[in-house]
Symmetry: C2
Subunit: 558 residues, 2 copies
């Protein structure tokens, strides 16, 4: 039994910011001083995912150069740091073993996910070097990267069979609802079946449509989780683990000598952070992703159209939680069809949150544009054209203010609307980031209620949560004039989108045949709108983005 | 020597339209009656690329069922037809051998491209069945699909070594500038090195951002191209080829017996269609892609903003050539800054093309929106905000008319503008399809001049071709106030985008260091705009779309 002091280092790198990320790693060196081993997340030095940046040979060379500097700065504690390795011809997703000012070795990811949001076969070559173990703090450590742990024929089994006493896995595992449970069961299953402690370190923070939720853990061979880092926050969790010795005779992999065991007087334990409930983790995912998108893009302030409806109310709340109320600017754009209660509700929400409001009525622009159009065509606009006109005037106003004040516009559409195309392209879809684009309408309500209950005092006025949803683009309009009720719609959308079911299968699943026909038609037909929608955080296993790459011209009606 | 009658069948399928594509194939059966072998393009039955449609098990089942029907309809002539093969667990990109009312076998693509615009590792499993030959018209035929021919370790060599006397390759090879030359050299090199005739059949037509340009060929073992189908058009090219016999003793692959040689009195030759010059093929690519996107989306008519500048002039001309002048609707939206000559030039172009025009001045909306905004913020709009406001009002007008008349809006931006972000999101970028989004500005001029010379009488007024480019969003504005001249800008953009060069490399390539700094900054910063731009035809090897997947949050400044 050898006691090893391990640091799970959960960082939030910025993609492409090699200097900044290296500096972030260097600042952590003091914190992990005295540990045997500090494990960082996948690609902690470069940010992740890099996408086609890795196809640029100059970037890969810069990544390697940055890694050399990190290695040079390393001290007694061994750092396991992810980076992009390779040269002009071949690139690897890799982790480096850095200690005592030098690079002791590199492990290259063998199993490259090329599904869902991942395109790693496009970007990397699989590692094929013989497996190696690193003796760190006197213990033989086997390394792996993310998908390597999940692949049935992954290297973890071979590392253990070859004599690894401890396994450390660097991950860039994005959030979706329920992901932490899946992750922990895989880690625990590996630790118990191998009889070796397993350290699983994830990234944290938002990167475009993905949000990495941390939740790094250390599982002991009995399957007990002896450390769990917080979700969604940077953290350095230091914990001692007693590693059962495996006789040298059972080792048949090359062992690279890195560091000896160090005697210590104290024993560090790390009480695992509690698991978050499903709505809490979802809400935090939206907050983290939105805040990081704004900050990492170099902005401080955001704006959004506040209609008095539930979607914009939730987005405003998320934004205020992410950036601080003083950085959120609500724009009220009433029309001839806006109800009084909408304006009152919007104002009440703004007051509750402490965010500023600005009111720009759309009436004069609606009249001016409407009459120019009517006179140009010597006829009348269709009802849809007139409704869209109002939404687009609002889009223009939001963008004009954003251009003037250097605000980043948040889009307030939800997944149910995006699915059926219940939105106006260049109207309510304008914006740089869409915090709830992957959240179904029924879940929007759940989140608003959850957030209201969280602090005791409701933030989102009860009348917003309870009134019937309406776009207010004509008198007395209600969403359920043109759509099924969301309680009926959302389960069907989920089966069609996440479940990839055909119409026939949906009917045999028990959905109403007429409803299936109508909803599938709406979803298919709205693909062109979704293609031009802004990015937003993915929180399901199939967001509208890199997860679901459908052709625009597509006549399949199965 | 056995004489075989071969049909190169160049079809334009619609993605997902299994019934329609099957009907298209059946209608060709009469034309190929009397041939030994009719070779269709890749995925001719399903359309290509299918993208995530193939992840839907129901679609793959439907593809197989449609294939069974095609096989059932086959007669003496053997059909080689591409389809999606597989089941719930595994999907293949395949071609079927259909003859005499039944299916004789299936070849599954072994080499799956997963680069540039292709994601085939995401969608398909590679074929691993033992190679087989099919005796068709008495000749042993080896089959392959697209990338199989280009891969250095592809199956063509093994098929030939195993006794194939003729090789037939089904392709879905999208156009980019210069592609036909590359293709023909690969086909000729394979035919001469193997000593076997090689039939190369491509698809034709537009599918979202891709355009398949046909140009199917048959090369004989001496490397002579004995048939070449037209570019960009559907065609059935029938040609007899004398296939040198390879002794049965040299065959070690399984041979599936399909059909006997047929005695014929006549000898069909097919004079190869001439090669297109580079601007002619580029122009035709734009016309085909635009026309197909509109038609395949179920629209007949398009509209666009006609400014009097070169970009919208070229797009209007492409649209008129693609859809007929009566289906193109030009919208003139003059502002207080529009020069008289712009309006005159736009009108002259419309007259030359025979397209209708509609004029909607933006002044009253600009005034109404501008004053509402100014009074709401109690200040003035920035210059950029005011310029964008005008562009966005135009976007709103275009969309209102399109909503009213069921037109599809064409976007007129070029690649140089998209690269440096010289555009207004939700303004001049609105639209469903962008015909010249992958054409640099200098090439826009070349194309306009080429099109003017093509028919003798200039279509694009000379003053449009010769005046200095301007967005006309403020008095006397010229593009080169804020950008380098396009003759200087475009080569740098091409090196940075297509060449993936870093700043340091660009300077060492001879570009001015200050210019490099400025242009790279502009290109990187405009990624968020490009992400929300409409699709448009890809004509280079790196379009802004699936070819170049860069993160939005990306601080790499190499």
């Amino acid at each position: 039994m050898t006691r090893v002091r391990l640091a799970l280092v959960q960082v939030n790198p910025v993609v492409g910011d090699l200097d900044g990320n290296a500096e972030r790693i260097r600042r952590i060196l003091d914190k992990v001083d005295g540990c045997d081993l500090a494990v960082f997340g996948e690609m902690a030095l470069t940010g992740y995912p890099l996408e086609d940046l890795v196809l640029k040979p100059g970037f890969v060379a810069d990544s390697r150069a940055a890694l050399e500097k990190v290695a040079g700065a390393s001290d007694d504690c061994t750092l396991i740091v992810g980076f992009a390795d390779g040269d002009e011809d071949v690139v690897y997703n890799a982790v480096a073993v850095c200690q005592g000012g030098r690079l002791h070795g590199v492990y290259r990811k063998r199993h490259l996910p090329n599904l869902e949001v991942f395109d790693e076969v496009r970007h990397f070559s699989p590692g094929v070097d013989p497996l190696v173990l690193y003796r760190i703090g006197g213990v033989r450590v086997g390394l792996a990267i993310c998908e390597d742990l999940w692949a049935p024929d992954g290297p973890v089994k071979a590392l253990v069979a070859g004599g690894a006493e401890l396994v450390a896995v660097a991950n860039g595992s994005p959030f979706h609802r329920g992901k932490q449970t899946e992750r922990e069961s895989v880690v625990v299953a590996n630790a118990t079946s191998s009889g070796r402690p397993l350290a699983y370190v994830n990234l944290v923070g938002g990167q475009d449509e993905l949000v990495f939720d941390g939740g790094s853990i250390l599982a002991d061979p009995s399957g007990r989780i002896v450390a769990r880092a917080p979700r969604f926050d940077e953290a350095v969790v230091i914990v001692d683990i007693d590693v059962p010795d495996v006789p040298e005779a059972e080792t048949d992999l090359q062992v690279v000598e890195v560091s000896e065991p160090r005697p210590r007087d104290d024993h560090r334990v790390a009480t695992p952070v509690a698991i978050l409930d499903p709505l809490a983790e979802l809400y935090q995912a939206l907050v983290t992703a939105t805040g990081d998108y704004v900050r990492k893009s170099g902005f401080t302030d955001v704006s959004l159209g506040l209609s008095g409806g539930i979607d914009s109310a939730l987005v405003a709340t998320v934004a205020a939680d992410a950036l601080g109320a003083s950085h959120v600017h609500a724009v009220l754009m009433p029309s001839r069809y806006s109800s009084d209660h909408s304006v009152v509700d919007a104002q009440e929400l703004a007051t509750n949150l402490g965010i500023s409001t600005l009111t720009v009525p759309i009436e004069s622009a609606h009249t001016a544009l409407g009459s120019e159009l009517v006179s140009a065509i010597a006829g009348t606009l269709t009802r849809v054209a007139d409704e869209n006109l109002q939404a687009r005037i609002r889009g223009v106003i939001l963008m004009s203010l954003a251009n003037t004040f250097d605000w980043l516009v948040l889009t307030t559409g939800n997944k149910s609307e995006a699915a059926v195309g219940y939105s106006t392209l260049y109207g309510d879809t304008v914006g740089a980031y869409a915090p709830i684009k992957d959240v179904y309408k029924t879940v929007v309500y759940e989140l608003a209620r959850w957030r209201n209950e969280r602090d005791g005092a409701p933030v989102v006025p009860v009348s917003i949560v309870e009134k019937a949803p309406s776009a207010e683009l004509r008198p007395n309009q209600r969403d359920d004039d043109s759509l099924p009720r969301y309680e009926v719609l959302d389960p069907l959308l989920e089966a069609y989108i996440e479940g990839d079911r055909t119409r026939v299968e949906l009917v045999s699943d028990g959905f109403d045949a007429g409803l299936v026909e109508e909803v599938v038609r709406l979803v298919d037909r709205a693909e062109f709108k979704r293609r031009q929608n802004p990015p937003g955080v993915r929180v399901t296993q199939k967001g509208f983005g890199r997860d679901r790459r459908l052709p625009l011209v597509n006549r399949y009606r199965g």
